[in-house]
């Protein structure tokens, strides 16, 4: 026997399947002995920047926390800010926020289907997903003015009203998307390329998942029905009728399937909300650019596309927050679950495991 020493190879930060995330992998042949995450390539210091800006200026800033799911970053921020500013939101504003947040969830999950297919060697999945992403981004543009970064939610409501033909735009895009979902099932989820690489890979049990801090689809894929939209309803989720899709196995494929089913559920939520949306004001005009906060603190969590997105905010009586702490869902996904699942896995399974967790490096680093 020849004694071959362990060797270490980098995963990222310029690897097509890593995003801007780096991990160093120690290998024994093809088996991973240890995976050490090394984030920080997208660290922009948002928590410090927010201490220098007013509550209104921070609203477009938080968009940049995660490129793929900006609506939820804003949603968590404005809700936390409203609590310490003592600002009420009109009912219509809450409905608009719920609709746009769900649209953001669909957008994020479709992007996930695209990126995962590409990483696992199925480029046509990526092309179709990108084709479906475009009409949704156009809706974003028509409603908010921004394609990727909406800067739409502000404390007290939203920046502007939905356009008059919004329900028709949604119907048109969703009809197309519904047809394409069948295509995704045929092309991606029933495809052997994907199945072989994702089934029984990176299995996470419920207990382990909770201990590692997993939330969102990664936790629901283990069979636990945990969703903050039901557990701690915010905005208007308590008035809407929807279900929480779960899976049992907890492997990479179940995590993907959870996202696939959530797309349909989110479309139902948007259709339901459009039926129930009331008239009236869409923002509270009491909120001014230099409104001062109360001397109190709050912790607010919302269910983003990736899981628990939380903000801890401390107000000190001025127009700027004293301290904001952002808890992004990907922090646990990248830094706790990924090294745990990678241990003893084959090196070839690493991209499948990584992308099945759907982490966003920008959200880890902040």
């Amino acid at each position: 026997m020849i004694d071959v020493p362990f060797f270490t190879i980098p995963f990222g930060p310029c690897h097509p399947s890593s995003g801007h995330f780096h991990a160093s992998i120690t290998l024994d042949g093809e088996r991973v002995v240890e995976l050490k995450p090394d984030p920080g390539y997208l660290h922009r210091g948002f928590e410090k920047l927010m201490e220098y800006r007013t509550y209104l200026q921070n609203s477009p800033l938080v968009d940049r926390i995660c490129i793929l799911d900006p609506f939820h970053a804003e949603l968590g921020y404005v809700n936390a800010a409203e609590k310490i500013l003592d600002i009420e939101v009109p009912e219509k504003g809450k409905f608009i926020r719920t609709i746009m947040a769900e649209l953001g969830r669909i957008l994020s999950h479709i992007t996930w289907i695209g990126v995962t297919s590409m990483v696992l060697g199925l480029n046509s999945g990526c092309m179709i997903a990108w084709g479906d992403r475009e009409p949704l981004i156009r809706i974003n543009e028509k409603v908010t003015g921004g394609r990727i970064y909406p800067c739409y939610f502000i404390p007290g409501g939203v920046r502007r009203d939905l356009p008059e033909n919004f329900p028709e735009m949604i119907d048109e895009v969703f009809d197309r998307l519904e047809k394409n979902l069948e295509q995704y099932d045929f092309l991606v989820f029933d495809n052997e390329t994907i199945r072989v690489r994702m089934e029984n890979v990176g299995i996470l049990e419920t207990e382990e998942a909770i201990d590692l801090g997993a939330t969102g689809p990664n936790l629901r894929a283990t069979g636990l029905k945990a969703d903050l939209r039901k557990d701690e309803p915010y905005e208007v989720y308590d008035q809407l009728d929807f279900d929480i899709p779960t899976q049992k196995k907890g492997d990479a494929f179940s995590r993907g399937m959870c996202r696939r089913l959530e797309i349909e559920e989110s479309m139902n939520i948007i259709r339901d909300a459009l039926q129930k949306i009331p008239g009236g004001e869409f923002k509270n005009k009491d909120f001014k650019p230099f409104t001062k906060a109360k001397e109190k603190e709050t912790y607010f969590c919302c269910e983003s596309a990736r899981g628990e997105q939380c903000y801890h905010m401390v107000g000190d009586g001025t127009d700027k927050p004293y301290r904001v702490k952002v808890r992004g869902p990907s922090f646990s996904h990248s830094l706790a679950e990924f090294p745990y699942l990678a241990k003893n896995a084959y090196i070839a399974d690493i991209p499948a495991i990584y992308w099945s967790l759907d982490p966003c490096p920008a959200d880890v680093d902040r």
Binding site: K48, G213, T298, Y299, R323, S332
Partner: protein
């Protein structure tokens, strides 16, 4: 908390175990438990046994005028669907506290981040290496006495800017 019954159960459970060592603050939605630094690990362990199985986050707030750091542990119970804040204070000049990694593994990276950003030493933590910053040697940047505007001017504009 929203459900009165369980909330009382939790409070009587903690009071029976720790008596005067803890105090409670009832917020509009989230209850806060205040503990002394040396009791944090014991109370946290009891809270895990009660059902707070998800360690969501830990926030550090720098109260520079009072010379103290406030640590706020955010906990969530998947079984009871309850949220809780566990708060403690430590002096700024001797910023050490026991690690909570033996209780919740997810605390590992959160504590590592706060060690880097505030310079807090988590005793018993196995790996307090830098996490997000690159070759950082200055004051931990999220402390209130670190002036990021001054830093940017000195680092990128040679000390002054029109």
């Amino acid at each position: 908390m929203r459900d009165g019954k369980t909330s009382v159960d939790l409070i009587s459970y903690i009071e029976a175990n720790f008596g005067d060592d803890v105090s409670f603050v009832y917020g509009e939605e989230i209850t806060t438990i205040l503990v002394k630094k040396e009791n944090t690990l014991k109370v946290a362990s009891a809270l895990k046994d009660w059902g707070f199985n998800h360690f969501s986050d830990v926030t550090v707030v720098d109260y520079i005028d009072e010379g103290e750091f406030e640590l706020i542990y955010h906990l969530w119970s998947h079984g009871e669907r309850k949220r809780l804040m566990l708060k403690t204070r430590i002096p700024r000049d001797k910023a050490t506290i026991d690690t909570l990694t033996p209780i919740w593994s997810s605390a590992h990276m959160h504590e590592r981040e706060n060690h880097e950003m505030f310079g807090i030493k988590f005793e018993g933590h196995t790996d307090l290496l830098p996490l997000l910053l690159e070759d950082w040697e200055g004051l931990p940047p999220l402390r209130k006495d670190f002036d990021s505007r001054k830093f940017v001017l000195e680092e990128f504009y040679g000390g002054e800017r029109e």
